[in-house]
Amino acid sequence: MKRRDLIKRLSVGTTGVALGLGGFGQRVLASAGGADQYPIFSGHHFLPRARRVIFIWQAGGMSPYESFENKALLHKLHDKSPVKHRDACSAACLRPLYNFSQQGQSGIEMSDQFPHLAKVIDDMTIVKTLQNFAPAHPQASNFLFSGERLNDKPSLGAWVNYALGSDNPHLPGFVALGGAENISNGFLPSDLHGVFFETEGRALDFLDNPRAISARQQQAAVRQVADLDRLYASISGDDKARAHGKVFELAYKMQSSIPQVLDLQQEPDYIHEAYGLNDESTRKVGVDLLSARRLLEQGVRFVRVTDGGWDHHSGLDQQFPEKARGLDKPLSALISDLKQRGMLDDTLVVVAGEFGRTPFNEGKFIGGFGRGHNPDAGIVMLAGGGIRQGFVYGETDEFGFKTVKDPVNVNDLNATILYALGLDHMRLTYELGGRTFKPTGVGECRIVRDLFA
């Protein structure tokens, strides 16, 4: 930054303060973006490996034992108490329910519930040691997405949107599909909030104008609002005003862009087939992932897809195959589709729940099989964006209950996702109320550089 820019910027800041309008949140990094964008960075902190992210949230927490963790000891101690080995729990052990085999060139051991994923396993990295700071869903998901326990902090997608924004001015930088939890902008400017689209039926309410209002009238009105907001923002230095105008403008632009982008009929039949859109059991996730791919292709920076229903406290043996089947085909199609299009080189695919599950049979008390929450060892599947291929990271103990090597807590995961995007979680900060907030909660965490090729 040149000196006179700094002076210019400082004088704007002082004017804001002098008028008593200087918003309580201030951008702290130099801007070199266009007049109307946020890009607080003229560049990246690190070499950007990925340019966009799709985060598939297995809400509820997928069981490691039915996917990637095959623990021999659990077969031996099935239905027996682990008390001789550990004095932690009086529940009985529960063996992995399905058969495991080594898949791909890399020979990653995985259960037979993911036959399609097995074909692309050589493109993926499996982290077995995701740790969370809370054992209950609401807090754990807050930690997973915002690094803090309460739900008033910005979600990871909002941080990424803040730093990098959308490449496409007609689409938001942060989109949520399948569920609208944990997509808040928190204290960041409000236009960074995740935009939630329905993928079946109408994507967004009020996309059509009332008959009495012509497109021209509407355009004029939106422009007026945005201009006024921009004027106020330029006098006051208040991000919120600018955000208000930007939300109006984006909403207006989305009226024409969204029906186009989310029209899956534009995709050929073989894509529909590959993503499993023709099969009721895979259709829901398939539609979400295909929509996500179309959005990413059109310049959206961060798509969060929620795949709920992995919280198998009971009925594991009936429900897990359903869930696995629902995710398996669409996810493998997404990865091969991205690869085919040359997008996997710079698109990071993250599949994670908020935590893992226990090696003990919780369902025993209510009949059948079921597992409890285990915030000490969960599964993360990663692909693309410079991630290593056919790689397993982290080790758990003989029960798969505790992490013994290479723990990756949720903040480490988020720092690593940001690292892939070329952002340093320690330098991507926001000043609020005298505190400097970063995307990865409080305290130290590490970027897991080993995950990258």
């Binding site: 266009g34 003229s42 560049g43 070499l47 340019r51 001015p169 040359g342 070329g422």
Partner: protein
């Protein structure tokens, strides 16, 4: 003019006269104390007048150097200012010998003025001191209560403290009376001003020598224990300019293009560019203000300018890459800071980035202000650009491309996926010589255009998915041998 320039070169000779004459005057002044009969005022005045006029000559020649020989810079200005002050002071000194009455009148006025100012300052100091003392007493109330209690409880302590206090108070009273009424004795002004003259001339001389002989010319060979004792740090001012960077990247540039005239054998205009010390001491470089540096000004002049360096006819022109290196160095980048700023970039990218002139934030802002265009640096402080043109509306595209032409060497990744470009717009892509990654997915690229893109010698990643290109992969790869990754139109099921 040439005569003046020639004469001015004698500045380094002329400066030695005052340097010799002033200490002589001082010696005579001291000797006069012991043998008043041996040294009379006339002799002393004569030496001082000689010193004064030699000062004037040296200063005039110094300014001649500045105006006719192009010596300029902050260090030179400071040197000149101190030299002027020294000359003035020599005149004041000699005036006391030659025009005693007039001097005394001026001095007496000056003395009253000094006293007046001093009294005001003293009032302020006392006021602030009282305030602070009150504050300290207030803050120490808990401690004082404690002391008061213990004195009540232990009479011996009370007695001891009282005695100490009495002693202290009397001493402070003495001190106070000494400070409160400042006594400015009638000084021997001639002696004082002569001493000041000596100090000023010494500083001027030292600074001048720093300019000609290098920053650390006096302490360069000082033994380490002595350095530690005196707290001498070598290259104090220069430590900001990274030596390793200089030797690694900048020196090779100078060696190629400069040191034939500014090196060991020839030092035109007294300038040497063949070592870190010489460059830093030369006064032609300015730390962190590269564009205020004479060196850079000369490098960046248009080729037909008479003052451009290296001179046009010598056949040693600098490449823009070379100038970029010099700018990076002058901006205070060290090899380490550069490596850190580059965020762990591969060496070849680093080398490429360092060879390019910087792109400033204004240029970047202007580019980003074009609707739909995103331009980012690969890494902060590394001026390789990631450009997305996909969402620029057709009406703005030619403007966007013409603006991009200004930074064509810096474009590293380019995304034009889904766009339909006219043939003249495609033609502009050829100038992006350092392009490494090109995304043409879904664009209207065709075979003839693709062939022109073979001029992009650094292209490693090319995406032609969703295009109508039907050229076999082998042919494309032989056309663009640098390609490592290539995506061709293909269906998902083909894989």
């Amino acid at each position: 003019m040439t005569y003046l320039a020639f004469l001015s070169d004698f500045h380094p000779v002329a400066v030695h006269f005052p340097i010799a004459l002033l200490p002589l005057a001082a010696l005579l002044f001291i000797y006069r104390r012991f043998r008043p009969d041996a040294v009379n005022n006339t002799l002393l005045a004569l030496v001082l007048w000689l010193a004064f006029w030699s000062c004037v000559v040296a200063v005039l020649l110094g300014f001649g150097n500045r105006y006719f020989n192009g010596h300029s810079g902050e260090a030179i200005d400071a040197h000149a200012r101190i030299a002027l002050a020294a000359t003035l002071l020599v005149f004041v000194t000699v005036a006391q010998w030659s025009f005693p009455t007039a001097t005394r009148q001026v001095m007496s006025f000056g003395r009253s003025l000094c006293l007046f100012v001093w009294r005001i300052v003293w009032r302020v100091v006392v006021f602030i001191g009282r305030f602070v003392w009150g504050l300290v007493r207030f803050l120490l109330i808990p401690l004082r209560v404690l002391v008061w209690l213990s004195r009540r409880l232990f009479p011996p302590l009370d007695r001891a403290l009282s005695a100490t206090k009495t002693a202290l108070v009397s001493r402070i009273a003495v001190l106070r009376s000494a400070i409160a009424r400042p006594v400015v004795p009638a000084p021997n002004w001639a002696g004082v001003s002569l001493g000041l003259c000596l100090i000023l001339v010494a500083i001027t001389g030292l600074r001048g020598a720093n300019l000609s002989h290098g920053e650390a010319h006096l302490v360069r060979n000082m033994p380490q224990p002595l350095k530690t004792l005196l707290g001498v740090e070598q290259d104090n001012a220069a430590s900001q300019l990274d030596r390793a960077f200089f030797e690694h990247d900048v020196l090779p540039v100078f060696k190629r293009s400069c040191i034939k005239c500014h090196g060991e054998h020839k030092q035109k205009k007294g300038l040497r560019l063949d070592s870190y010390e010489a460059v830093v001491a030369s006064g032609v470089v300015h730390f962190q203000d590269p564009h205020g540096s004479e060196l850079l000004r000369r490098l960046l002049l248009p080729p037909d300018d008479a003052a451009v360096m290296p001179p046009q006819d010598k056949g040693r022109e600098l490449q823009s890459d070379d100038i970029g290196v010099v700018i990076h160095w002058l901006q205070g980048h060290s090899l380490e800071s550069l490596a850190k700023a580059e965020g762990g970039l591969p060496t070849e990218i680093k080398t490429l980035a360092r060879r390019l002139p910087p792109v400033d934030d204004e240029t970047l802002s202007a580019l980003n202000a074009i609707p739909g265009m995103t331009v980012r640096r690969l890494v902060n402080n590394v001026d390789l650009l990631l450009v997305n043109l996909s969402y620029v509306p057709k009406s703005d595209r030619s403007k966007a491309l013409s603006e991009l032409a200004l930074v064509s060497d810096h474009i590293f990744h380019l995304d034009i996926s889904g766009a339909e470009l006219a043939s003249n717009e495609w033609a502009q892509l050829r100038s992006f010589s350092n392009l490494e990654r090109l995304n043409l997915a879904g664009s209207n690229i065709d075979h003839p255009v693709l062939q022109t893109l073979s001029e992009l010698r650094r292209l490693k990643w090319l995406n032609l998915h969703r295009t109508s290109v039907t050229v076999p992969e082998t042919e494309l790869r032989s056309l663009m041998p640098s390609l490592a990754t290539l995506y061709l139109p293909r269906k998902l099921e083909d894989s």
